[in-house]
Symmetry: C2
Subunit: 119 residues, 2 copies
DNA sequence: GAGGGTTATGTCTGCCGGGACATAACGGAG
DNA sequence: CTCCGTTATGTCCCGGCAGACATAACCCTC
């Protein structure tokens, strides 16, 4: 991803759902690839895991974030629903808001060995 | 803690450090109790774990967040350094900023069974 | 000096999350 | 009808993390 690897955000919600970079990137990759397995390959994770994450997301929201249908050769595949795109956009916005927050800069400066890499 | 249990924030930094509610609450409890073990008791975690978290924090920042000295009966104990208080304040500020973000409200509404509990 | 509360550290075990592997069911292309 | 790529699901196993237990060193109060 083109995102800053030095900082990532994970949200913990009430019902055991955690939403972080992993699910966000997966959602984005599915939207761009049109397939769960292709997205998984691109992100270097097994299809098993990618599907598990999708199932988790779909189960915790009141409507699925990812629609999917079986069959290969352009037959089946997966797509991100409106809700899914909305969730993804919200997460990215929060990520950006956080990244630009002054407190993050303060914390970074207090970290060990983080001074060197702001060339 | 008096904080909203339905949402929590975890920051992932570059060098394997993760800072979330656990460490933040611990830091705050140490500041208020003046002792690692007392803080651990209050939060319902073992001293072993509390100390491990402190060690992790102190190791990842360029200066310790918690000062400690041995001995009981008001002899030793632990206190949160200026840096520690600053880090804690920064985290609380980010938490608040996040909690009040409109995207969080949007996400909450999309979650399963989250509508009922806003009495 | 005895006792209690504290920091600091070692070790063991159980659990569970994730990775690896396997398989079924399906659908379009050719 | 065959083949390929996909969704969907089951099972096994291993590593790492968390909790439980144990101990040492320390320091103040009484």
């Amino acid at each position: 991803m083109e995102n800053d690897p030095r900082l990532s955000l994970r949200l913990h919600f009430n019902k055991g759902l955690t939403f972080g970079r992993g699910k966000a990137d997966l959602l984005q990759a599915i939207a761009e690839e049109g397939s769960i397995s292709a997205a998984g390959r691109r992100l270097g994770m097994s299809y098993r895991r990618a599907w598990a994450l999708v199932e988790d997301m779909n189960g915790h929201f009141h409507a699925p974030l990812v629609d999917s249908s079986r069959g290969g050769a352009k037959g089946g595949g997966a797509s991100v629903t409106e809700l899914g795109q909305s969730v993804l956009a919200d997460y990215r916005a929060l990520e950006a808001m956080l990244r630009d927050a002054p407190q993050i800069a303060t914390l970074r400066m207090a970290l060990e060995g983080d001074i060197s890499e702001q060339k």
